[in-house]
């Protein structure tokens, strides 16, 4: 799952895959603004076939949290 999330973040942010890690966030990736964040959320929902809650969408502001939230959705 990790690789897939990295790849999606990379494509949506147009940011090199090799520079992405679990701590990547709007602080480390300049392109990750509010618009790109919505794009990322929509892309993740599409690829993993899940629906985040509005709170989750607002809170998933780094790759670690994204992975955690996805795992929660997938296990429930």
């Amino acid at each position: 799952m990790e690789d897939k999330v990295f790849a999606i973040v990379s494509k949506v942010m147009s940011y090199p895959m090799s520079n992405i890690n679990i701590d990547s966030s709007p602080d480390t990736i300049e392109e990750w603004d509010s618009v790109k964040h919505i794009n990322l959320m929509m892309a993740l929902e599409e690829e993993f076939d899940v629906q985040f809650s509005p709170d989750e969408i607002s809170d998933m502001l780094n790759v670690k949290l994204i992975l955690l939230t996805l795992k929660e959705h997938k296990s429930s």
Partner: protein, 579 residues
Amino acid sequence: MEELSFSEVIAKSKEKGIKLSGPECKIRILSNIMCFQLNDFLEFTLREQGINAKVTSGNYDNILQDSVERIEMSVVVVFWELSNLVDGFHYKAGLMDKELRGELVEKTKKGISVVLKNLVEVQQVFFNSFSSLVFDCHRLDKSPLTEIAVELNKHLNECASSNTVIVDINKLFAMVSISKSVDFRYYNLSKSLYKLEYYREYAKFIAPRILSVWGLTKKVLIFDCDNTLWKGIIGEDGMEGIDMSSGSATGVVFAEVQHLALELKSMGVILGLCSKNNEKDIDRVFSHADMKLRESDIAIKRINWHNKAANMVDIATELNLDLSSIVFVDDSDFEINLVRKELPQVMSIQVPKQLSEYPHVLRRLFPVFAANSRSVEDVNRSSMYHDEQCRKEFKETFNDIEQYLRSLKLKLKIIEDDLSLIPRLAQLSQKTNQFNLTTKRFTEHEMERLVKGFSEKLFCFNFSDNFGDYGITGLCIIANRGETVLKYAINTFLMSCRVIGRNVEFVFMDYIIKHLLNSGAKQLDAEYMATTRNSQVEDFYEKLGFIQVNSGTKHKIYELELHNYKWSGIDYIEVENGR
């Protein structure tokens, strides 16, 4: 084809963008909602077709101001959402004070006018229709929101100039479904109303028009033959074994496809064949009773055993057109994949495995060709060309009508002085109002006297075409003027409205004049008496060469020297003498 995911669309679009050169197609999206995802889908869809598209967005909810100075843009797309006319309008509209609502609508209408005026120099504007469907599609009555949408759309239609296409977003809702189109989680969070699927379809919906503005419209439609224009393989199954009959469940699919192909041809699309077959076999199929396409409909043929990609190149060269203007339809995985791989510029369409879907696949292609007829529509709108267009249309309509009538196998059976028809003839005289020169009404008794007498002659006709028989639908009563056998007068000339528009009246009159000439007549008098219903025949006699001898318009009196009669020259109505 498998759809790419959003992240793949973003990546592929970027990849293609780097490779593309050529003039940039600058596109700006103006909106009162957030719709950034459309940028990626639109860029991707256009870049895939070779357009160096660059899509940017205006500021959020700033359509009016953003519409100023957009002249350098090639394309502007306007998303003006009803739900956000003012914040929360979709739920506030129902309770809103009528006066306030009216003011808001007026303000929006003014805004629309200003925006369209500001954008008038832009090559192509797409302006979304206003829709309340998301909020009230379940309501049988008209919601306040619907009423507002209707009013705004009416205004939008009135203001739109020829560079503007109004995008009917209700069609998109129908294609995508409302639940797959909108997502209120994102709307409530960030005013992002629409979902990815909606933008994917939206981009595909408007792209053909942008392609045509960019001069990249499809012009040629090339069909394989076996299992593409008919069911079966002519070389193996023979003439009896192939099926394209509208009477069979499988054949009807191919009958429909052939009809659609002809419809495209009528829009200016060039039709061609490319098939691995013996040319003689294919030629023979054109004489098949169910074959709708004629040999003359096919502008270019490559019936041989060469590789189809090579044939496509050959076709493009012969037609002196770019490969990207070709659409190729084939049932074979092998051929489709070969052409897709060798010539990605050619749009290759495979006949779907579920055959009943095949006509629908072809229908979805109409927009990529439609640009051919669109230029006519544009010319039509410009008043400068309007008059010329009217003349041309009149001529075209005339030609079409004659062609159409010719195809109908019209048949006129003329019957003279028949007693058995008296009830029907009396009824005709009573009921006919529109095509009736004198509107004289006769009872059966009076009609019988006319038929039996010596001074009147009755002609009537039975009319039929290949759709059916219309029965006795026309009547003419000729009276001998008494003083001399050389002079006659038309007492009644009428025709049922069911047969109007087929030029029967002229052929009927030809017959009567011929009859009079044969009996030695020299002159025929006639009259037109105006009623509230018969103005369509007020100049009927003028057309035939009759001269009006009085000065009235309500009651015109005519004379005709029979040698001055204008024969119709119509040869597509068969005349038969019933007696």
